[in-house]
């Protein structure tokens, strides 16, 4: 046994994982204990968390700041609607098949936009999302601006739909949060952290920054698309402005910046704040968005680490530890 | 004797890392002082601190009896300090003339005979021919001449030169160093940061040697021996064979 060992798991991390597992089980079992309204809320919150976490991986680790993730949300959701409603594919199979659409779309978009630096890339993604919104508005197959309804869902009972929604929400969180966590703890995670801190230096240390960014972009597209398919399946209706709307970018950026960029914990904190702000203040008009916008501004100017950054400056108790600690073994035991 | 520029217990660094630990140097009008030392000794950091690029306390830098430490770089220029930055730092995409014009348009109040485009062209005649050329199309030596000319045109009383011989052919270095006496003749104080120790010794009246953020040797350039320099340069335990 060597004198030193690398520690990655902490007590707080174990507790958090336990809570995460309990939460997932809770979500899956919702149809047997929760109201319709609560299930719908949890599905919505899960979708927000997923979209924000995908943005977090892009901006927080990949250095790819996108304001056009709604392109993938909308494309996957529309693909699911067309498969299920127009072609009669089983809607739950359609959710998974529809993920091919954002993946396929992400490849040409990345090759088109990756030449643009930072902010230009961001607005480039916005143009793509806008173009897709207009395209959807003009496509007779998608019923144009009037949008589509998922009438095929009536073949399932309310309880069956609740089970499916709950399973999908749990799976969505497992894939986006759990998947991100596993990736960040793998050797790719070290490469990505290096890339976040200094792309040029990471490249010189053998990190293939270009390829890593490409994978990240495609993975984030699929993750965002998954959230879109789940979200609009629960809504049963889709229109071009809701599917390709800026609201997706707004919420992702707010959640990550206020919660804390580059951490999974920050996304959870930010998502909960956004969700309740929308829930409690949304009925009094859009003025809460003024506050959320100014909070995003304040975080960009003064608190780059967001709320999680503030927390971790005072407590060393990460919920999802991805850092490695080198500790000296006390009394090496043979 | 009244120093034109002096530093007093100057401490500075980058973020949490302190690079200078109480530097005391001084220079008079018309004097040339060389600053030598190994890479990382803190020479460039000292120039940046004087220039106002790094934060320092006001009384750490005195210019003509006034505490000027920590002023923004553009205010240091107005106070009469200029720098020929390491790596030349010319404004790319602009011609030689435009690079010089910017300095003229933001110059300090001249003391004595002002530097004009004509005087700079007299000092480095090649620049007159290249006036309309984009600076990125010049040779390294010509770029260094533009950089020196640009800094002269802000009408400094103290000129800080950061490694002006770096990466240039010996012939070009000689040409540039030959121009320096014409600069100090008008009363400009010159601080030369220089890697080439013997060149620094020849070009200056006094020199300071720095090691790990401290001044380890100072004196008249002509009096200092090679042994003293190598002891100061590498630390007390090293002696050059």
């Amino acid at each position: 046994m060597s004198k030193y060992q690398v520690i990655r798991m902490t007590l707080s991390g174990r507790i958090a994982w336990f809570i995460f597992a309990v939460a997932l089980i809770g979500i899956v079992s919702m149809p047997w204990w929760a109201s319709q309204g609560l299930i719908r809320d949890v599905v919505t919150l899960a979708c927000y968390i997923a979209v924000a976490q995908m943005w977090n991986m892009l901006a927080g680790y990949g250095g790819l700041v996108s304001v056009g993730q709604q392109a993938f949300v909308g494309v996957a959701a529309y693909a699911m609607f067309v498969l299920a409603q127009t072609y009669g594919v089983n809607p739950y199979s359609a959710v998974f098949i529809s993920l091919l659409a954002p993946a396929a779309l992400a490849v040409p978009i990345y090759y088109l936009l990756h030449r643009l630096e930072g902010p230009y890339f961001a607005i480039g993604t916005w143009v793509v999302a806008e173009a897709l919104r207009l395209l959807a508005t003009n496509m007779p197959m998608l019923n144009g601006g009037a949008g589509m309804s998922l009438r095929v869902m009536t073949q399932f009972s309310v309880h069956e739909r609740a089970i499916a929604s709950s399973l999908l929400a749990a799976l969505l969180l497992l894939v986006t949060l759990g998947g991100s966590y596993l990736v960040l703890r793998s050797r790719y995670g070290i490469a990505m952290t290096a890339m976040r801190d200094n792309p040029a230096a990471a490249a010189s240390q053998g990190v293939n920054v270009h390829r890593l960014r490409f994978y990240l972009f495609v993975a984030a597209a699929v993750g965002s698309g998954f959230a879109g398919a789940v979200y609009f399946m629960a809504q049963l209706r889709i229109t071009p402005p809701s599917a390709f709307g800026m609201n997706w970018a707004n919420l992702a950026i707010f959640i990550v910046m206020v919660g804390g960029i580059g951490s999974l914990e920050g996304v959870l904190i930010g998502a909960v704040i956004f969700f309740f702000a929308e829930r409690w203040f949304g009925e009094y008009g859009a003025s809460y968005l003024i506050v959320l916008g100014l909070m995003t501004l304040a975080c960009a100017l003064y608190f780059r680490g967001g709320l999680w950054g503030f927390y971790s400056r005072h407590f060393n108790a990460p919920w999802f530890p991805t850092r490695r600690h080198l500790v000296r073994n006390k009394g090496v035991v043979k | 004797m009244n120093a034109l520029l002096s530093t007093h217990g100057l401490k500075a660094g980058y973020g949490d890392m302190r690079a200078l630990h109480g530097i005391e140097i001084s220079i008079e009008a018309g004097e040339t002082v060389a600053l030598i030392g190994a890479n990382g000794a803190g020479k460039s950091t000292l120039l940046k601190a004087i220039m106002g690029v790094l934060p320092v306390a006001p009384e750490m830098i005195m210019l003509d009896g006034k505490a000027v430490g920590g002023k923004s770089p553009h205010l240091m220029v107005k106070a009469g300090v200029a720098i020929v930055p390491e790596g030349r730092r010319l404004f790319l995409g602009m011609s030689v003339e435009e690079n010089l014009q910017i300095a003229i348009e933001h110059a300090a109040e001249p003391i004595g005979e002002p530097w004009t485009l004509e005087r700079v062209f007299a000092l480095f005649p090649i620049l007159r021919e290249k006036a309309r050329t984009l600076v990125e199309n010049l040779s390294g030596g010509q770029q260094q001449m533009v950089s020196i000319g640009r800094s002269l045109l802000v009408q400094p009383r103290v000129l800080l030169c950061d490694e002006i011989s770096l990466g240039l052919a010996p012939k070009v270095v000689r040409e540039i160093y030959a121009a320096l006496p014409a600069i100090t003749a008008g009363g400009v104080a010159l601080v030369l940061v220089e890697q080439d120790v013997s060149l620094a010794q020849r070009a200056s009246q006094r020199l300071y040697c720095m090691l790990e953020g401290r001044v380890t040797l100072q004196g008249a350039s002509s009096d200092i021996t090679r042994e003293q320099i190598s002891a100061a340069y590498f630390g007390a335990n090293h002696v050059l064979d």
């Binding site: 143009v127 793509v128 003025s287 968005l289 916008g293 960009a300 | 220029v77």
Partner: protein
């Protein structure tokens, strides 16, 4: 004739886009500052102008003359209070900060002015047109185009032949070196943003006269300006002007193919330029 008319109307439309693009060419292209509120500021100024006209009964040209200094003041404050803090190598802070401000601004405008579309009455000139052969050229769009051309020429002159323009270019090339040559970058940047937003005062008045404005329109203006700047090539003032013309023509022709296709055609041309000539039409590869 139908298509020639399309091109002519496209050029006239491009005149309006050029006014959006000019300020962005300055901030985005030269200063490398991202200002997501660019479009929202056009809308804000237009709404201020419309309210001012309602309140005071001032004519459209007096409103224009008022909006330009108001825009310049907003630009100055924006740069001093906000953007100067986020100038640097990392573009993320300025993007995120102005993105947040954009959301706040849009919703604040929604609270103040409601979601209604409004416009500024331009008087008789709004309907006037000049017959050229079998085409009719609107007087107002022509004024917009001439104004855009003059502003672009003025900006190009400012950038190349004035102390301010040289200082700004120097600061964009190397901000620290510029400061070490006596340039006060914060002041130069504040002045540049004041000019950029001041020009939006023209754009706002003309936009409100030519069509309508609503609080949530800002992102569209931002995207058009961005597309024009990228099509023309970053950092090139006349490039942005030409990019605006190309965008205007693409939208106008697209609209004639199918009314739903107009704006989309502009986006597609932008993406095509990006695929074929990512450095823009006017810029050589560096």
């Amino acid at each position: 004739m139908y298509w020639i008319d399309g091109i002519v109307q496209g050029i006239l439309l491009g005149g309006l886009y050029a006014q959006y693009a000019l300020g962005m060419a300055l901030m985005f292209g030269v200063m490398k500052i991202v200002n997501v509120t660019h479009g929202d500021l056009v809308i804000l100024l237009a709404l201020i102008g419309i309210s001012l006209a309602d309140l005071t009964g001032l004519g459209p040209w007096s409103i224009l003359a008022t909006l330009v200094p108001i825009g310049a003041a907003i630009g100055w404050i924006l740069q001093r209070a906000l953007l100067n803090r986020v100038v640097g190598d990392d573009p993320l802070p300025s993007l995120i900060a102005t993105f947040g401000l954009s959301i706040a601004l849009q919703n604040a405008m929604l609270q103040i002015w409601s979601a209604d579309t409004r416009s500024l009455s331009g008087g008789a000139i709004q309907q006037a047109s000049i017959p050229v052969g079998s085409l009719y050229i609107g007087v107002l769009p022509l004024i917009v185009l001439i104004c855009a051309t003059v502003l672009t020429a003025g900006m190009a002159f400012l950038m190349h032949y004035t102390r301010f323009g040289r200082a700004l270019r120097a600061a964009s090339a190397d901000v620290e070196a510029a400061a070490m040559m006596g340039v006060n970058p914060r002041r130069v940047y504040a002045l540049a943003t004041a000019i950029a937003v001041g020009i939006l005062g023209f754009a706002a008045a003309f936009q409100a006269m030519r069509s309508t404005v609503a609080p949530s329109d800002g992102p569209f203006q931002l995207i058009y300006a961005f597309e024009a700047v990228i099509i023309g090539g970053l950092g090139s003032i006349w490039g942005a002007f030409t990019g605006a013309m190309i965008l205007g023509i693409s939208q106008s022709i697209g609209f004639r193919i199918n009314p739903g296709f107009g704006i989309l055609a502009g986006h597609l041309v932008f993406l095509a330029v990006l695929a074929v000539r990512p450095q823009g039409i006017f810029k050589r590869k560096s």
